[in-house]
């Protein structure tokens, strides 16, 4: 599936459509612009505040601090467990040097189950022996990344940010009002990275615009040992109108329990109904289990209209970097945080120069879009085609039975790289997909005749 990108590359990359690649300070022909970019800071380093201490914020803080910038990391609650799938791609372990003892489970088998209960094994034949999907607990990962950012030199401020003052000129600092232990304090910084998640306050203050969110609802269930053995290293995905109208429902194994949940964009008020639907579908496998926690969280569906304004940049969930189709966000959050931090280090020459909006856009936004827009677009197309109706979902499960499709999917998911496939196999895969879609559509039309 990922290999189809080779056949339809972006003819006109996003980056070249509206920005001219000239000098750092972009001048429009009509009026003179006065920017502070390039101004040398005498006697001090650039001060940057990262608001939000999850994977995005911690990676940004680490990149900034290692680059020599005075970094402040704000995190209001350092110990809550975030409601999250907890799956990361394999490449994240290498790229972010995550120690292996943090991983709770190695998922080596996946099952995807269609509305008519056709179950396809994903990975038993197509995953190589050293490959797996690591599952970990968010609180463990987050605190590891945060402590690493601190040891790189970032200052952790465990307080809640309440207000942001936007400066009037390009030289004056941003004032952050925060409250810690019921006492209000302020902090002046030159630039801000907003990494505070789906309900981002920073986004509200810079008027970045709204986005549609999906809601993910899950229950953590502790199973009896013999049932837990089935989910030892197996994750399941269920599709169907009874479990979600436009997404999938899942059973993911965690450290000592399973998380059973579902998500939806268009029918948020019926989420409990869909949760009941998924629990009915896995009834025999979770019989005797006890619900230990119920949680829900919004997941952004697309990027915010504005991701950089002034000297404030949004990263991670706050910017809306969650892929469609799989709902993956941890890797992209961490990667965008790191890229933004590195962009600021580059633009300010290690903290010596003041930066401006154009620097952020050129070094961070353009690089990010160039690298990942096609991935996001491709997954959006997959979601639209295959999650739309029961007919399409049956076709999806049939297509996933193909070993080549599985191999390509794992290559692009685990390594986040365009999978280099065999042209002939690609063609066969495309025809196979079309064939499956047509067959399932024909059966779907037959189904409409029946009034059971």
């Amino acid at each position: 599936m990922a290999a189809c990108q080779i056949q339809n590359p972006l003819q006109n990359p996003l980056s070249q459509l509206s920005i001219r690649k000239t000098r750092p300070c972009l001048h429009k022909p009509h009026y003179v612009t006065i920017t502070a970019a390039g101004h040398h800071l005498s006697g001090r380093k650039l001060r940057v505040a990262v608001i939000g201490g999850g994977p995005a914020g911690s990676s940004a803080a680490e990149a900034l601090a290692s680059g020599g910038i005075e970094t402040f990391l704000f995190e209001r609650s350092t110990s809550t467990a975030k409601p999250c799938g907890g799956a990361i791609p394999l490449c994240m372990i290498d790229e972010f040097s995550i120690p292996l003892h943090l991983i709770d489970r190695h998922v080596t088998k996946m099952k995807i189950i269609s509305p008519s209960n056709l179950a396809v094994d994903f990975g038993s034949k197509s995953l190589r022996s050293h490959e797996y999907i690591p599952m970990l607990r968010r609180e463990v990962l987050d605190s590891f990344l945060r402590t690493r950012a601190q040891s790189a030199g970032a200052q952790l401020i465990p307080s809640l940010v309440t207000h942001l003052e936007i400066p009037s000129s390009s030289f004056s600092p941003y004032i952050i009002h925060h409250s810690i232990n019921n006492s209000r304090k302020t902090l002046a910084v030159d630039a801000i990275i907003g990494a505070d998640g789906a309900n981002s306050k920073v986004a509200k203050f810079i008027k970045a615009g709204n986005y549609t969110c999906a809601i993910a609802f899950q229950e953590r269930i502790r199973l009896p040992d013999e049932k837990m053995a089935y989910y030892q290293n197996l994750a399941e995905m269920y599709v169907g109108d009874d479990v979600s109208p436009d997404f999938y429902a899942w059973v993911f194994p965690k450290c000592d329990h399973v998380a059973v949940g579902t998500g939806t964009v268009c029918a948020k008020q019926d989420i409990k109904l869909y949760q009941r639907g998924i629990k009915e579908r896995v009834k025999s496998k979770i019989n005797g289990g006890k619900v230990i926690k119920v949680e829900a969280h919004p997941i952004p569906e697309h990027p915010r209209p504005v991701r950089v304004r002034g000297r404030v940049a949004l990263v991670g969930d706050a910017a809306g970097y969650v892929t469609k189709c799989s709902g993956e966000g941890i890797y992209f959050a961490a990667k965008s945080g790191r890229m933004c931090g590195e962009a600021i280090v580059r633009a300010s020459d290690g903290g010596e120069l003041m930066i401006g909006e154009d620097d952020l856009k050129r070094e961070y936004l353009m690089e990010w879009d160039k690298k990942y827009v096609s991935t996001f677009r491709f997954l959006d197309m997959l979601q639209r085609v295959f999650y739309g109706s029961n007919v399409a979902r049956e076709a999806l499960v049939e297509v996933c039975g193909n070993e080549y499709v599985q191999r390509m999917t794992f290559d692009s998911y685990l390594y986040k790289k365009l999978a280099k496939g065999d042209r002939w196999e690609d063609l066969k895969m495309v025809f196979g997909t079309l064939g499956s879609l047509m067959r399932c559509k024909i059966v779907g039309r037959e189904m409409e005749v029946f009034k059971l």
């Binding site: 459509l17 509206s18 920005i19 009026y31 612009t33 006065i34 920017t35 502070a36 970019a37 189950i113 509305p115 008519s116 209960n117 056709l118 400066p167 009037s168 390009s170 615009g209 986005y211 169907g240 009874d242 029918a267 008020q269 019926d270 639907g277 009915e280 579908r281 896995v282 496998k285 697309h302 990027p303 209209p305 504005v306 950089v308 304004r309 002034g310 000297r311 936004l365 827009v373 996001f376 677009r377 959006d380 639209r384 029961n390 049939e398 039975g401 064939g435 499956s436 047509m438 067959r439 399932c440 024909i442 059966v443 779907g444 039309r445 037959e446 189904m447 029946f450 009034k451 059971l452």
Partner: protein, 249 residues
């Protein structure tokens, strides 16, 4: 088949005045009201029964075989309130269709395989079943050969369109002859007539219904919507540049 047995059981139930067949509610926003649901179930099954009159004539044997099953299932349903009707078909064995049972007159009847699979999927759509590890579903529709699909769907529609095209062609030839004096042989030599023919053929193939045009437009809009959302950050630069740069940066 499932529907025959359900309707058979319902007839018995109606006659003996035990109307308490609980149907699993389909997950839609208006799902409450148990009694209403039962009424719906009754009417729906009556329709299904009528629809299957022809089928019952063809296979009286299977109905006899099913006579035991409905009773057992009826008892099951009364005992456990929450159990939904399970999909049952004598040709569905161990999670796949037994293809030997579809042989008719010594030849494989793929049409009935397609119909049976469609009914199974429809049934599961209305009454979703829990997955079990003991009886996994293994049937793949790719086992049905491509020509069976063509014969069922493509050929009838092609016949229809060809018929329509032939009728249009005949009357247009007559009208053009009356207007211009060119007979059929002369028309085939004329360039304007040939382009007219070409446009008509393409038009009939592409726009079979007026709905198709709207669907294509909607598809194009949807396909580019996500792209627009990503580009919004860049578009904004032009809009805010004047106020922001002088004021803020």
């Amino acid at each position: 088949m499932a529907s025959i047995s359900i309707s058979a059981s319902l007839q018995r139930a109606c006659s003996s005045q035990h109307i308490r067949r609980k149907q699993k509610p389909i997950p839609k926003p208006t799902y409450s009201l148990g009694t209403k649901q039962v009424m719906n179930a009754v009417t729906l099954d009556m329709e299904a029964q009528k629809g299957y009159k022809t089928e019952t004539k063809e296979e009286p044997a299977s109905e006899m075989k099913k006579s035991k099953d409905p009773e057992e299932r009826l008892k099951d349903e009364f005992e456990t309130e929450s159990s939904a009707p399970k999909f049952r078909d004598e040709r569905w064995k161990n999670g796949t269709w037994d293809l030997n049972m579809f042989v008719r007159n010594g030849r494989m009847d793929w049409d009935s395989v397609i119909v049976a699979e469609a009914r199974r999927r429809k049934f599961l759509e209305m009454h979703p079943e829990a997955t079990t590890n003991e009886e996994p579903v293994k049937f793949r529709s790719s086992i049905i050969p491509w020509w069976a699909w063509l014969i069922r769907t493509y050929l009838p529609e092609a016949e229809l369109l060809n018929g329509r095209a032939a009728m249009i062609g005949f009357f247009m030839a007559y009208i053009v002859d009356a207007l211009t004096g060119l007979d059929v042989v002369g028309q085939t030599g004329n360039f304007i007539c040939k382009t007219g023919l070409f446009v008509t053929v393409i038009g009939v193939v592409v726009l079979r219904k007026t709905q198709d045009f709207e669907n294509l437009k909607k598809l194009a809009d949807e396909a580019t919507y996500y792209d627009k959302q990503w580009q919004a950050s860049w578009k904004d630069e032009n809009a805010t540049s004047s106020s922001d740069r002088i004021g803020n940066t």
